[in-house]
């Protein structure tokens, strides 16, 4: 695609801005900022990827993936009620998810050990893990607030914090996985997934593109489950104090 062709698509942004002005939505500034940010961020990452690919070094690839995990953990954890105690736990959960899924794909030679494959697929796994972490944490804190009496009841009967919050954790894990499962159920019917679309546009055989897309979907499903279950195990102790009392943030 030439820069001239790309520049034509700015008409879409202009169209959205005109609509915002005509309908008095007040979104003009946000639309401009979002468009500029997307352009700059993607251009920067494009040049960074070009550089990393040219080095073809596992260390650069590792650093790039580690940075992705750190940014994802920051984004997922920043809305959490107990943010300061949660960041490292989210980092570990997403890092573990990325390590397990990527190790599986590389060891079995499902993916070639090349930055061109590892970084984009890692991006999808880490991005999905970030969304799932965010959904899980929001749901968990909401459930703990709403079901405080249930947790206190189990504690009062001699339950450990783990026993007292088990059902709440299960429900939060389930809720966080619903979007991933629903996406899988409707994939190909409602929308063609991005990776597959990209490959087809780039001239790949659609069947080959479908294979890669399935690989990603299955990896994302496992990654989602690993993320939310790991995060649940790491985060629930932060909800209680050393006397096995539910912290007052939830009272």
């Amino acid at each position: 695609m030439t820069l001239l062709s790309l520049s034509f698509t700015l008409a879409f942004v202009a169209f959205a801005i005109v609509l915002s002005i005509r309908k008095r939505l007040g979104l003009e500034k946000d639309l401009v900022v979002a468009s500029v940010r997307a352009t700059v961020q993607l251009l920067v990452i494009g040049y960074v990827l070009k550089l990393v690919f040219s080095f073809n070094s596992p260390w650069f690839t590792f650093l790039m993936v580690a940075a992705m995990v750190a940014v994802a953990a920051y984004n997922a954890g920043k809305r959490a009620k107990l943010w300061k105690t949660v960041f490292w736990k989210v980092f570990v959960a997403i890092g573990l998810t990325e390590t397990v899924t990527m190790a599986y794909l590389l060891v079995l030679h499902v993916l070639p050990v090349k930055p061109q494959y590892v970084i984009p697929v890692s991006g999808m796994i880490v991005g999905n893990a970030m969304v799932i972490s965010s959904l899980f944490l929001n749901r968990l804190y909401g459930e703990v607030s709403n079901r405080k009496q249930e947790i206190l009841l189990l504690l009062s009967l001699g339950g450990t914090p783990r026993q007292s919050i088990r059902q709440v954790l299960k429900d939060a894990v389930k809720a966080s996985l619903i979007p991933t499962v629903d996406t899988m159920k409707t994939t190909g019917l409602v929308q063609l997934p991005g990776m597959m679309t990209g490959q087809i546009i780039a001239g790949a055989d659609p069947i080959q593109a479908v294979r890669y897309q399935l690989l990603i979907l299955f990896a994302l499903l496992a990654a989602g489950a690993i993320t939310s279950i790991t995060l649940g195990g790491l985060v629930y102790p932060t909800l209680f104090n050393q006397h096995q009392q539910l912290k007052r943030d939830f009272e």
């Binding site: 009841l153 006397h243 096995q244």
Partner: protein, 247 residues
């Protein structure tokens, strides 16, 4: 090993209320094993807070709470909470049947419980409720079930927080009889918060009056109601007898 005669000791205990306004202040008192202490006082006096100190739902800011001679902070917490059973003012039923709910306590320790029917009959409930969804029951039924659920955990100390407030007089009587029976059979110690002074007089061996987080009078129940020693107790009893709102 000497038999511990004190079930609960509060030694110069202070703890702020959850809302940040006031709290229990410098409370010292003892509950002997096998006795029932009824806790009375106006709303916001700290009665429920005092109960929460006994099963370590709250930690004293100052002072010591001993259960059977051992500081609550030194207990294994699940073990403490099993032995110091609490029945909440608002009964909570988990999703599932009545039977599932009644088995909760023992199930947490990997145990099962049988012969539940006599417990249900003791609080005026038919064994046919066992397979019903617990959340479909009335408030009064839930309240009685939550007492049975706690008793099936065989606590040595029972903390009751206005457990009959939603019950009619017949059910209230059944609950009182059951608690008295358990107390007699298992030498259970009871700390019973109530707004019902008649009930406090019926069930208590000793009555404590809390006002504004301070224990203003603690006396054998008959003495408390017939010859209160403090002006605060006399005023409280007078205001309640006149049908006024104690505050």
């Amino acid at each position: 090993m000497a038999m511990e005669t004190d079930a609960i000791q509060f030694i110069d205990v202070s703890v702020p209320f959850g809302d940040g306004h006031g709290g229990i202040s410098g409370l010292t008192a003892t509950v002997e094993v096998g006795k029932t202490v009824t806790l009375i006082g106006p709303s916001g006096a700290g009665k429920s807070t005092l109960l929460s100190l006994c099963n370590l739902f709250l930690t004293p800011q100052r002072g010591t709470v001993n259960i059977f001679g051992k500081n609550v902070l030194e207990w294994d917490v699940p073990s403490l909470r099993r032995q110091v059973g609490m029945v909440f003012q608002t009964p909570v039923m988990l999703p599932g049947t009545v039977l599932d709910n009644l088995r909760l306590g023992p199930k947490l320790r990997g145990e099962t419980v049988d012969n539940i029917e006599p417990w249900l009959e003791a609080v005026g409930l038919s064994p046919t409720v066992l397979q019903q969804p617990a959340q479909d029951l009335s408030g009064g039924q839930k309240q009685r079930l939550s007492l049975v659920r706690t008793l099936l955990n065989h606590p040595k100390i029972l903390l009751l927080d206005e457990v009959t407030s939603a019950l009619d007089s017949h059910s209230t009587q059944l609950v009182e009889q059951l608690v008295q029976r358990v107390k007699a059979q298992q030498n259970c110690t009871v700390l019973w918060v109530t707004h019902n002074l008649e009930q406090a007089r019926r069930v208590g061996d000793e009555t404590w009056l809390l006002v504004g987080g301070r224990l203003v009078e603690a006396a054998p129940t008959e003495v408390f109601f017939t010859r209160p020693q403090t002006e605060a107790a006399r005023q409280f009893l007078a205001s309640v007898c006149k049908g006024g709102q104690p505050s």
